[in-house]
């Protein structure tokens, strides 16, 4: 349960013993930087989301204390793989739509806070220095400024296993980059380089690998002298192009219902992705990104050869198929 200690200042904010987060305070800028560190597979677990929610609750309970909120990952080469795949497999197999809805609503709570951060007097910046997949990409889209290092890749691969990103991808991608880009990204499931995301206006800046921290500093120092005006403009932006919480929650319900329809084949594909994540966590060069690219190729070639999916049964020997 989230507990709030109002009015305790920076010391109170930084005092909580987080397991998955590392907090840094820059008093000169009233900047709180949060580095996420779910290991070995960086994803949005229930406890990681609870900890992040606690940080945000503490910021809300101390108005005016934090002027800049910065998020990045402490895990090399990965920002976030998104949702907790093993948990999804568990809940899908159990037919537990309530828990899936609960999970989705907790994700929406986090993106909704980011969406309203300007109203709380907080400017938000996120730095992605590695793989940013599915819910991981969804989670950064509400930020006021999104910075990618050049080596980072991102996308919404969910459609490859018959699901879709259900925690803000549609609303926030449409607002950032337009309907055509959102359509392309979500319905193709393909992955994009940082340059491709920047070209499509999904993200705000691409910097060289290793230059992310300097880019954060430059961004925050650029915003600081015009902090009030910037936040006022961002609040007005929400009026001009609103994202509705009801829409986010409704899509979560659609997402949970879709998860109930996942077949064993779809769940096996998710397991395959989880294995790839585990391999990268173990030090392999290839991980989820490369596995997704393999999946894309397999699915594309399957359609082209026969007009239908090549694999009708998981694990069947292709040599014996007629």
């Amino acid at each position: 349960m989230t507990s709030i200690t109002p009015g305790v200042g920076v010391a109170g904010l930084l005092a909580r013993p987080y397991k998955t987060l590392r907090l840094e305070w820059t008093s000169e800028l009233s900047q709180l930087r949060v580095r996420t560190g779910v290991r070995p597979i960086p994803c949005y677990t229930l406890s990681a989301m609870a900890e992040l929610q606690q940080v945000l609750a503490d910021i809300s309970a101390n108005p005016g204390l934090v002027r800049h909120f910065v998020l990045s990952s402490d895990v090399p080469r990965v920002f976030s793989f998104g949702g907790d795949l093993a948990l999804f497999v568990l809940l899908a197999r159990a037919g537990d739509i309530e828990s899936l809805q609960l999970y989705g609503r907790r994700c929406v709570d986090l993106v909704w806070w980011m969406e309203n951060a300007a109203s709380l007097g907080v400017h938000t910046t996120v730095l992605c220095q590695g793989d940013t997949l599915g819910g991981g990409l969804e989670s950064v889209l509400p930020f006021h400024r999104i910075i990618f290092e050049r080596g980072a890749q991102a996308g919404f691969p969910e459609v490859l296993f018959n699901l879709f990103p259900g925690m803000g991808a549609w609303d926030f991608t449409i607002r950032r980059a337009g309907f055509v880009v959102a359509n392309e990204m979500i319905l193709s499931g393909r992955l994009y380089t940082a340059e491709e995301l920047h070209y499509r206006r999904v993200i705000d800046a691409v910097v060289d690998d290793g230059a992310g921290d300097a880019a954060i500093d430059a961004t925050v120092r650029e915003i600081e002298p015009r902090h009030r005006g910037t936040l006022a403009a961002l609040r007005a932006r929400r009026v001009a192009a609103p994202v509705q919480q009801a829409s986010l929650l409704s899509i979560v319900d659609h997402w949970a219902e879709s998860a109930m329809g996942l077949t064993n084949r779809d769940l096996r594909l998710m397991e395959r992705l989880a294995r790839a994540q585990a391999r990268k966590a173990g030090g392999a060069d290839e991980g989820a990104v490369e596995e997704i690219k393999r999946l894309e190729l397999e699915l594309a070639w399957g359609d082209r050869r026969t007009g239908v999916e090549r694999r009708s049964g998981w694990g069947a020997d292709r040599r014996t198929q007629t």
């Binding site: 070995p40 568990l90 537990d96 609960l102 585990a278 173990g282």
Partner: protein
């Protein structure tokens, strides 16, 4: 109020993740296990599987009486489950035989303290703590099988160059079977009475089972 299954999932999520994120588990799912370590794991699993039904029987025998039978649905569920699981220790034995361990060697194997602790806790909890604790055991073991069994079986096949299900039939089949078991288990867990002692027993048992199973795999 959350259904009990949802409460169980969220309350024990970190225990599940402690299993999932243990370096030995991560490595095993990614790359499989060398032959000797896989043999060692199956030898421990043989004992876990052997005692599964006796533990369920102890629990079922304590679930209610002719005078008070609120736990009847849970008891009947255990009867059916025991029927389905009957003889599954033979599947483990067959897998061991496929990778070079004779049935005689399997029966003669002395389990590790971690397996003894797991089986011992489950028996004690069913006999003396609360009969509903057996549902925590079922939950933990079926989560491990249905969520992690499939990727683990694939990794073992690849690592040991096994054909089909030979050598992995128990783990691979339970990965598939326990998909339906998970759905059934959710329904029965949502029928655990709104009794604090019963629910606490289920949660405690799930946590202990995740913990000890992690120790078992860690030790091989």
């Amino acid at each position: 109020m959350l259904p009990f299954f949802a409460e169980l999932v969220s309350t024990t999520d970190e225990d599940r993740r402690a299993f999932e994120t243990h370096p030995v588990i991560v490595d095993a799912v990614a790359q499989g296990l060398p032959l000797e370590r896989y043999r060692a794991l199956l030898l421990e699993l043989y004992h876990v599987v052997w005692y599964f039904n006796p533990v369920c029987a102890v629990a079922a025998s304590r679930m209610g009486s002719t005078a008070q039978d609120a736990l009847q649905p849970l008891r009947h569920f255990l009867y059916e489950h025991m029927q389905e699981e009957s003889g599954h220790e033979d599947w483990v034995m067959n897998d061991l035989a496929a990778i070079g361990v004779t049935p005689e060697a399997t029966r003669a194997h002395a389990p590790t303290p971690h397996t003894l602790a797991l089986v011992g806790y489950n028996h004690w909890a069913a006999a003396f703590r609360h009969p509903c604790s057996v549902l925590g055991m079922l939950y933990a073991l079926e989560v491990i099988a249905s969520v992690y069994g499939g990727p683990f079986a694939s990794a073992i096949r690849e690592r040991l160059l096994l054909d089909g299900d030979a050598g992995v039939s128990f783990i691979a089949s339970h990965a598939t079977m326990d998909a339906q078991h998970m759905a059934d288990l959710r329904k029965i867990l949502n029928r655990v009475p709104q009794d604090e002692a019963a629910r606490a027993a289920v949660i405690e048992s799930a946590r202990v089972n995740f913990h000890h199973f992690t120790r078992i795999v860690e030790a091989v």
